[in-house]
Amino acid sequence: MTPLASYLLVAALLFSIGLAGALTRRSAILVLIGIELMLNAANLNLIAFWRYGPHPEALTGMMFAIFSIAVAAAEAAVGLGLVIHIHRYAHTTNLDAMNRMKG
């Protein structure tokens, strides 16, 4: 059986790729994709810890992951809605142009 550490390594890799995407991309949509990747890395962790945890027979980890995926879906919907709106307003999705909140 594959040890827990491998799952965690994959999850960490996935999270790092998502974080890197979210931090470096200029396009708002790609930033959203990065965020989705990070969320999925977290989900993977949830499942892994459940399976290797003390009570794998209870479906707690599974429930947590499904709940998290539902929240991620809602977040993606809101995020995409915002991006569409910003695009309509400013005709761009470039995040560097969106600095109206500058102090």
């Binding site: 931090l23 930033v31 560097d96 500058k102």
Partner: protein, 690 residues
């Protein structure tokens, strides 16, 4: 029958409605004052209408009193009410109807009405016509208030109102500096008397606790209060009654122009002539005499049978000396109105002397007859002035008897009445003046007043003849030709002339109706009172004296028509005496260098103190506060404001610095967050290793 009081409760009696007599003219004056623009016709209608109404009511009151008298009652019908209540002290006001008030009411309203009618002609071209009738109505109302007052306080209030209207009317032509000065002089001089009057009033209130004259036994003029006043000693051997009487007399002397407070009355002639006639000859100046008659019980308190009191003796001496003094000055005056003014002062002296020696009836009789013939003389003088285009100097008139026949006829009647011309035509002044002379002859204290009054009568005849000779005889010495006045002026003259001739009949010694009415006795016709030798001698004396005066004067002045520039006949004979008389015995100058100079000095001192001392103190305080304010301003702008501004600047700089952190770029925030998480993770890992 002794006087008895009657407190009236029936709401429909004339006494209850008596307050309307003064109230209606006062209201008319108020309405006139509030008119939006000068409305001549409305003002005249209101003034004459209100006085006619008062005259009507006064006649009703008079008839009512005569009926009561005929029934055998001599009553004071009073209506009293509480005005102010302070603790246990009541200040009561009220009005009284008695024969004295009734006679005075009819006289005042009747003379006022005639003078109002006359004024519509005399004041026709004046631009302040509306004001004039407003003031005149106010005067009539206040004077009637004086007459009906049953409380010394109410009387004093109306008395002051009368003084105010007198001031307003003397200064009616206020553009003339002399008129403005005369108004001030009148106001201030009478105020000197009024201060004493007020003192007497306060003293009376302190002693008796009431200022009502008659109040069913508890009034201040009734025996109970008088006995209390007599028991109370004051200074200089006077009782409280005597001292209060003298104080009140000082007020009366101010108003009635008695020596030494007479100086304002001749100057008061600066007012329009109808004002002089109504206020400064017929009614207001008689208010002082009326006041003495009103408080006569107090004046007389403590007199033995046939005797006199200190107060009455003072009244007599002041009156008699004023009578002679003013008559002397009148001889040397050339202004037609000033001659009459001094004659008024002189006649007021007669009234006072009559009150002092003969009682209420003697003085009041002369007051009433004098009111008619003096109003007549003043209105006649007004007619002359009007006809001669505002010329007042008798030396620039002359020969008017053919130009102004009606004025001449009526004026002569007034002049003969004033002289007290007796045989063969008995003018009203003859009877009233003889009453006073008769009283003087029987006065128990001294005979000197009698001789003074006889001398006064001689002088009166002299100066009146001089005036008439100057004005109506000889030839015309003025510039423009004179003309007769319109009927609206001559008809009142004729009516007054009728009364000046006949009014004496109600008080002849044979039928002493007037004194009987005032004193509550019954009158009967008895010729024997005339034909007893002593009285015939008196009548003869006075007739001779008057004729002597007239003849003497006529020989000096009659038909001579001297030039205005020529010195007077008497001036040639005795220049020094003439100069003294001409300058009114220098009384004004004496006051100028004594009283006025004294007050002027005090005013100067007060002014100096005000400017230099108090002004300096005030300035110093102002400077101190100004310096203090400067210091405060410096502290405020440099210390308080500076530190506050500095704080604000620092905050703004700090905010600017912090604002740079807020780039507005989402990814920057995310980077910081990621970095922070990494640092946190590193710390956690590091700490868990050990």
């Amino acid at each position: 029958m002794p006087p008895q009081d009657l407190i009236i409760s029936s709401p429909f009696s004339i006494t209850q409605m008596l307050w309307l007599i003064p109230a209606v003219p006062v209201v008319a004056a108020g309405v006139t004052a509030l008119l939006r623009q000068p409305k001549r016709r409305t003002a005249v209608t209101l003034a004459i209408g209100s006085v006619s109404f008062s005259l009507l009511l006064s006649l009703v009151a008079f008839v009512h009193m005569v009926v009561r008298w005929a029934e055998g009652f001599c009553v004071h019908e009073t209506v009293n009410f509480t005005w102010i209540q302070v603790g246990a002290t009541n200040v009561e006001l009220g009005w009284v109807l008695d024969p004295l008030a009734a006679v005075m009411l009819v006289m005042v309203t009747f003379v006022s009405l005639l003078i109002f009618i006359y004024s519509t002609g005399y004041m026709k071209h004046d631009e302040n016509y509306t004001h004039f009738f407003c003031f005149m109505s106010l005067f009539a109302g206040s004077m009637l208030g004086v007459v009906i007052a049953n409380s010394l306080l109410l009387l004093f209030m109306c008395w002051e109102l009368v003084g105010l209207t007198s001031y307003l009317l003397i200064g009616f032509w206020y553009q003339k500096p002399s008129a403005a000065a005369a108004a001030k002089k009148a106001f201030l001089t009478t105020r000197v008397g009024d201060v004493f009057f007020l003192l007497g009033m306060v003293w009376l209130f302190a002693q008796t606790g009431t200022l009502l004259f008659y109040n069913g036994g508890t009034g201040s003029m009734e025996p109970e209060a008088l006995a209390g006043l007599l028991a109370q000693p004051a200074a200089l051997g006077l009782t409280a009654a005597g001292a209060i009487s003298l104080l009140i007399f000082a007020g009366a002397a101010g108003k009635s122009g008695q020596f030494p407070l007479h100086v304002w009355l001749p100057d008061a002639m600066e007012g329009p002539t109808p004002v002089s006639a109504l206020i400064h000859a017929a009614t207001m100046v008689a208010a002082g005499v009326y006041l003495i008659a009103r408080v006569y019980p107090l004046m007389q308190a403590g007199a033995l049978a046939g005797g006199t009191t200190t107060a009455l003796t003072v009244v007599t001496w002041v009156g008699a000396s004023t009578a002679v003094f003013a008559a002397l000055i009148a001889v040397a005056q050339n202004d037609i109105k000033r001659i009459l003014a001094y004659s008024t002062i002189s006649q007021l002296g007669y009234m006072m002397a009559g009150l002092g020696m003969g009682g209420v009836a003697v003085g009041m009789f002369h007051l009433v007859t004098h009111a008619f013939f003096k109003a007549l003389l003043f209105l006649g003088a007004g007619s002359v002035i009007h006809g001669c285009q505002d010329e007042q100097d008798v030396r620039r008139m002359g020969g008017l008897k053919s130009d102004m026949p009606l004025t001449f006829a009526t004026y002569s009647i007034g002049m003969l009445a004033l002289c007290g011309f007796g045989f063969p035509l008995f003018f009203s002044g003859f009877w009233s003046k003889d009453g006073i002379l008769d009283a003087a002859l029987h006065w128990s204290v001294a005979k000197t007043p009698f001789y003074m009054l006889v001398l006064g009568a001689l002088l009166t005849a002299f100066y009146m003849t001089r005036q008439v000779a100057y004005v109506f005889f000889g030839h015309w010495r003025g510039h423009k030709p004179a003309h007769e006045s319109p009927a609206v002026m001559t008809v009142p003259l004729a009516i007054l002339a009728f009364f000046a001739m006949t009014l004496g009949l109600i008080g002849t010694p044979a039928w002493q109706w007037f004194s009987a009415f005032l004193e509550g006795r019954s009158a009967c016709f008895d010729l024997s009172r005339i034909v007893y030798p002593e009285f015939l001698a008196l009548m003869g004396t006075s007739t001779v004296v008057v004729i002597l005066g007239i003849v003497l004067s006529w020989r000096l002045y009659g038909d001579r028509s001297p030039k205005p520039e020529q010195p007077d006949v008497l001036e040639k004979a005795a220049p020094l005496v003439w100069r003294w008389l001409r300058n009114r015995l220098y009384v004004d100058e004496l006051y100028e260098v004594t009283v006025i100079a004294y007050y002027g000095w005090w005013a100067w001192v007060a002014d100096w103190l005000d400017r230099r001392v108090w002004g300096g103190v005030v300035d110093a305080v102002a400077w101190a506060f100004r310096g203090w304010a400067q210091l405060n301003r410096f502290l405020d702008s440099n210390v308080v404001d500076g530190s506050f501004d500095k704080g604000c600047d620092e905050l703004a700089v700090g905010g600017g610095l912090l604002a740079r952190v807020q780039t507005g770029r989402v990814q920057t925030y995310l980077r910081v967050l990621a970095l922070a998480v990494m640092v946190l993770a590193a710390i956690l890992i590091w700490s868990s290793r050990t």
